[in-house]
Symmetry: C2
DNA sequence: CGTGTACTTGATACAAGTCAAGAATAGTGG
DNA sequence: CCACTATTCTTGACTTGTATCAAGTACACG
């Protein structure tokens, strides 16, 4: 994915959720000053450091995680192209803890001061960014639901549906599949289960014809059945704007 | 808790996290138009209905939940006095799904239009409300961590620490304890475990002298030990503003 | 006082964790 | 391009935390 996709991603993401004037998107696009590359497995930011810029992911995947003292790890959020990885730093002025690149990543950088100016002059843009925060929270609550009451197979089904839907918004799906650049160990830390169990569940889902995986790609031949298994809201799949249904 | 506490709660909450001009808080206070009572166990809003107001809880507890088709329930968020229960409706214009009063509740009501005007004129206020959304998301991610990797006892410890800290911000703690108006079944649906197991874990924590419960009240005689057990960030306990540490 | 709701406790079942060891891949340097 | 290494993936055996079922007790409340 080339840098020139920045505009496309901004447009896909923002106009998907609200009506934002093209002018505002344009101004936002132009306010990005530079881009930053991060290699796979590296930290994206220095935890807790003073932050003066926000980063908008244009290629690659990264994720937020938390560690417990004995080494247990839980990913709490996954970012894909079209996501701001540290939008909170705009208000917080500090970098988030535990933000790691799952793959090589490229992010477009915008300074807080530029963003500051922009949202004063373009209130619609401010609302869109606020809404992004709201969507992030809604997704986190979906994870809470999943981790709280679903069994391993249901969690997996839901996880794949969520990724598929989010990737579709930014045009990253390829037919009925997408690139899934994640080890089973990483998945286990997203889904709150052991890596061994991830492997077994993937085997079962494959047997049942619900997923196909090879070469870092997944295919979901029967998305409806997968969504039903994970009780992932069908509305979310049909029209991505309906993700809003989940927010309120 | 009387209605006159609205100002106090707004002040405690907003000024705890950011420096907001007193004038802004004052104007926000005056923009609330009415108050609404909801009885225990009732739905606070009609799910998915058109929303034109936001509600700020002034007394009582309520919570967001999600149901699976077979009846499994998971609470995804708990609200206490000083929390906006449906701030998202300001951008979304729809009521959230599954919002229930755990106890009798009273909420102060502010119309979206009034809020709209206000945040245009008081940008600091807008940032504070946006920050509230960010904090909600951060809390949800803490739940993800807890549900994902912690065992039942650790989850409990963390849960009580979180409640204590949040109540402290709005002055609802009573010494080393607080009112916990929740059945064990409700706790089980917050912590992603069965009600029976909740009961057993409470018993163990009581044995170990980490909690005392009676008459709908909890005491945490050794908060430090409890925080250590749940790996709840000590920084959060000491200075509530440090909750921000968790956000970024 | 009786009737429902919440709490408590015991016995049993099972989903998922852990440990271990081999097979398949992917990376790396000569 | 191949051998060498390190991850990752896969599978089996065993363990354990937590769910489920069941039944009884303590309250709360009309």
């Amino acid at each position: 994915m080339s840098d020139t996709d920045l505009y496309g991603l901004l447009f896909a993401k923002l106009s998907n959720r609200r009506n934002v004037p093209a002018r505002a998107i344009n101004r936002l696009f132009q306010a990005f000053s530079s881009s930053r590359m991060v290699s796979a497995k590296e930290d994206v930011v220095v935890e807790g450091a003073h932050a003066s810029t926000c980063m908008f992911l244009t290629s690659g995947f990264c994720a937020r995680y938390r560690l417990l003292v004995d080494g247990r790890r839980q990913f709490t959020e996954i970012f894909m192209p079209g996501d701001f990885v540290n939008l909170g730093s705009f208000l917080k002025k500090r970098q988030p803890r535990g933000l790691i690149a799952l793959t090589d990543c490229r992010a477009a950088v915008i300074s807080h001061s530029a963003l500051d100016r922009l949202i004063c002059e373009e209130p619609e843009l401010m609302r869109s960014l606020w809404l992004e925060t709201l969507v992030d929270g809604a997704i986190s609550r979906e994870w809470v639901l999943s981790l709280g009451v679903q069994n391993a197979k249901e969690r997996f089904a839901r996880f794949f549906c969520e990724l598929f839907m989010r990737m579709e918004i930014v045009g990253l799906t390829e037919g009925d599949g997408f690139r899934l650049p994640m080890t089973q160990t990483e998945m286990s830390d997203m889904l709150g289960m052991s890596a061994v169990h991830v492997n077994r569940i993937i085997g079962e889902l494959r047997e049942e014809g619900l997923i196909e995986m090879c070469g870092g790609r997944v295919r979901l031949p029967d998305l409806a059945a997968l969504a039903a298994l994970g009780e992932f809201e069908a509305a979310c799949l049909e029209a991505s704007t309906d993700l809003l249904q989940a927010i309120a």
